[in-house]
């Protein structure tokens, strides 16, 4: 038996394809628990997990919380808005105080890129990155991959278009790493003002959405992150929708069995038309269900569970 070779999950970039494979396989096996009448197993009994959220979150935080409960971990959630952070406590002090309570793992969302690395460097517990600035959101990429794999049976060779505000998107970065490592063919698309420099070295980039979605097996739409923008990236949301939004018309250019993904929350009528979000090819709610399974796998493997025992 060999354990998972990482203590922390700071991003997808440092993972090997075999690590990703293990995480997805484990998620697939653990997913079955969610369909049982009694959704609880003792796998993480006696383990303490803290959810430390410095940014708003609905999906990520609740799905981590559910995953923790299903696996019988003792967990608590701290939202920055109601914590000592409002009294000016530094991240390090908060972390050191939490560390003194001996948790096994801290799951953190933070607006500063690299904040989980900072925590991992200074504390003893395992750190899971639940989204850091514009850097990575590894569990989102894993749940997207799980969704794609369930529907398509594979990741290798899939043509995936990632469309929208790539500059501010940690989801785009994590997905780009994951899909490339697993042999998918990624195309990036967005207005040039929202495409970060140098990313063309990692995947082809186009500003024409029609080109990007042509023949695609999957389209990943990104949320326009208005709250991170200091203005002037594009003239109006109207023009954005017309030129870069995913409409039914555009979906038709993709493969017949195309899947449409969105990490949420959506700006309906901006990056994605409502008819598309609610359309038959949309797997947006499957993503949410898979989010719980993927987070169960992450908790289980990082806290010492063996991949084989998960079955």
């Amino acid at each position: 038996m060999t354990g998972f070779p990482h203590r922390h999950l700071l991003g997808i970039e440092p993972l090997e394809p075999s690590d990703i494979q293990t995480l997805l396989d484990t998620a697939d096996r653990l997913k079955e628990i969610l369909d049982r009448p009694i959704k609880k197993v003792p796998a993480l009994r006696g383990k303490t997990v803290i959810n430390l959220f410095y940014e708003a979150s609905t999906r990520t935080r609740s799905s981590f919380e559910i995953a923790e409960r299903v696996l019988s971990a003792d967990s608590l959630s701290i939202a920055a808005a109601t914590s000592s952070v409002t009294k000016g406590e530094t991240l390090l002090d908060t972390a050191k105080n939490l560390e003194a309570m001996n948790p096994d793992m801290v799951i953190m969302r933070h607006s500063s890129s690299g904040a989980p690395h900072f925590l991992a460097r200074h504390c003893r517990f395992s750190v899971v990155n639940a989204g850091d600035g514009a850097h990575e959101h590894p569990t989102q990429a894993l749940l997207d991959a799980l969704t794609l794999r369930q529907r398509k049976g594979r990741l290798k060779g899939l043509k995936v278009a990632i469309v929208g505000d790539i500059l501010h998107s940690r989801v785009a970065r994590s997905n780009l790493w994951l899909l490339s490592k697993m042999g998918a063919q990624v195309v990036l698309c967005g207005p040039p003002t929202l495409v970060p420099p140098g990313i063309e070295a990692l995947a082809p980039v186009t500003s024409r959405i029609d080109e990007a979605v042509e023949g695609a097996d999957a389209i990943m739409m990104l949320r326009l992150q208005m709250e991170r923008m200091s203005g002037g990236f594009f003239p109006t949301t109207r023009e954005y929708h017309v030129r870069f939004g995913l409409t039914e018309e555009r979906v038709k250019r993709a493969k017949k069995d195309v899947l449409v993904l969105h990490p949420g929350p959506m700006n309906r009528g901006v990056e994605i038309a409502s008819e598309v979000a609610d359309g038959p090819y949309s797997v947006i709610l499957d993503q949410v269900t898979n989010g719980v399974a993927v987070r169960m796998a992450v908790l289980y493997l990082l806290l010492g569970g063996s991949p084989e025992a998960a079955s």
Partner: protein, 432 residues
């Protein structure tokens, strides 16, 4: 009269074209003579065989933090760090609290430096009041009080009109205007260089063009006004190109480069996993920029090597990357880094390196020193080119420990610094 004879060292004084094994005789606070096998009855003799004797090194870009941020550094600790790093003089940037924008503050800095300073301190005054980039500071008073240049370092002079007036007005008092070149609208909330690495790390980047735009502007304004501009911590290929072209046209422009921009790139941010000791402004740039900077040092486009010594408290640095203060300490690593990475790597000859650290800084700002000619102040830096040592921030004289060079093993270190004929620092393991 007390006399000191520095015997048998390799004397390197680019100002006089000297690179030979010679003796240096010091009388009181000045150099009396440099020559072979000097005899001086009654003089104290220091045997410097195997060591290099240079005119004292001058750092044209130091943040001493006093007054106002004595928790980060003081004139006493900063100048001790300078002495331990091989510098006999530092030029103190005016972004203290309050800003050194008037003669009263200049005088208080000089008074403190006289009482507590281990090396000479030359204050730099502000370009504008409060370094707010609006109204000019009183250059006449600043010059009279002892300022050697003006700068709003840390804050670029955003207005071309203000920069133009500063360059014009400064000529009346023979002051150099030192500019931190950065187009502020291109680097809002940036915390590293913009490029592939910032994209991967998800950090806001400042594009290299934002610096070059301002360097081009300043060169053109210096040309327009006949003023003298000195480009602080130049860091990009396009910036050095602008300076090179300006110099070729005879514009009054000079430039300095820091060791960190010469020896590190933005990859360091990634390799260290967001270690905040890689965060400074201007940021560490790309490998192409770094190579262009080294070439600019080699071909003389860059006049000086300066530290941009920027000490911070642990609290200012041990935070999230985008929240951390900009800047690293440099006084106690700069000389060793240059000896190892420029001289040791065969990129530069020793006389050229001494010119970059002593002759040129003194010339650019019109300071006494920068030479061992008879009559010059007896400011001397002694180097041990064979010494190998690891950079250990725990043993810094500076209050700041914020360096990306901790753990680096470097060959070639300062062995002793003399200021005005007196030993300001010597390596404790040094026999003399």
């Amino acid at each position: 009269m007390s006399r000191l004879l520095l015997k048998g060292g390799r004397v390197v004084d680019p100002a006089q074209g000297i690179d030979a094994t010679l003796d240096v005789l010091i009388a009181e606070e000045t150099i009396e003579e440099v020559g072979p096998r000097l005899q001086a009855r009654g003089a104290q003799v220091l045997d410097l065989k195997g060591l290099v004797v240079c005119p004292g090194f001058v750092d044209v870009h130091t943040h001493l933090r006093e007054p106002g941020r004595e928790d980060k550094e003081t004139i006493a600790t900063g100048t001790r760090a300078a002495a331990a790093g091989g510098f006999t003089a530092v030029c103190a940037m005016p972004n203290t609290e309050p800003v050194n924008d008037n003669a009263g503050i200049t005088l208080s800095i000089l008074e403190k430096a006289r009482a507590e300073g281990a090396v000479r301190v030359y204050p730099i005054g502000a370009i504008t009041r409060g370094s707010r980039g609006e109204e000019l500071a009183e250059y006449g008073d600043l010059r009279e009080a002892g300022c050697v240049a003006v700068s709003d370092d840390g804050r670029p002079v955003a207005s071309a009109r203000v920069m133009r007036r500063a360059l014009e007005y400064a000529t009346a008092f023979d002051l150099v205007v030192i500019d931190h070149c950065e187009e502020p609208t291109l680097s809002e909330r940036a915390c590293m260089n913009e490029g592939p690495v910032s994209t991967i790390l998800g950090l806001r980047g400042a594009p290299a063009a934002g610096e070059a735009i301002m360097v081009e502007r300043d060169v053109l304004l210096a040309e327009l006004t006949g003023g003298r501009v000195h480009i602080a911590h130049i860091s990009t290929a396009a910036s050095v190109d602008a300076v090179r072209r300006g110099k070729a046209r005879g514009v009054g422009v000079t430039a300095e480069a820091t060791p960190h921009h010469l020896f590190l790139t933005d990859e360091a941010v990634r390799e260290t996993g967001y270690d905040t000791s890689t965060k400074m402004n201007p940021p560490l740039r790309s490998e192409a920029d770094r190579q262009a900077l080294v070439a600019a040092v080699q071909d003389g486009t860059v006049d000086c090597i300066a530290t941009d010594h920027a000490p911070h408290t642990v609290d200012d640095k041990k935070v999230e990357y985008d929240q951390a203060a900009f800047g690293i300490v440099g006084l106690e690593t700069a000389v060793a880094l240059c000896l190892d990475r420029l001289l040791g790597a065969g990129l530069l000859e020793l006389p050229h390196l001494v010119a970059l650290l002593s002759t040129n800084p003194a010339k650019v700002l019109g300071l006494p020193g920068g030479t061992l000619a008879a009559g010059a102040p007896a400011d001397v830096t002694v180097l041990d080119l064979g010494k190998k040592r690891q950079v250990d921030p725990k043993h810094f004289e500076s209050k700041g420990r914020n360096t990306p060079f901790g753990g680096w093993i470097l060959k070639g270190w300062p062995a002793m610094t003399l200021v005005g004929g007196r030993i300001a620092w010597k390596d404790p393991r040094f026999r003399a």
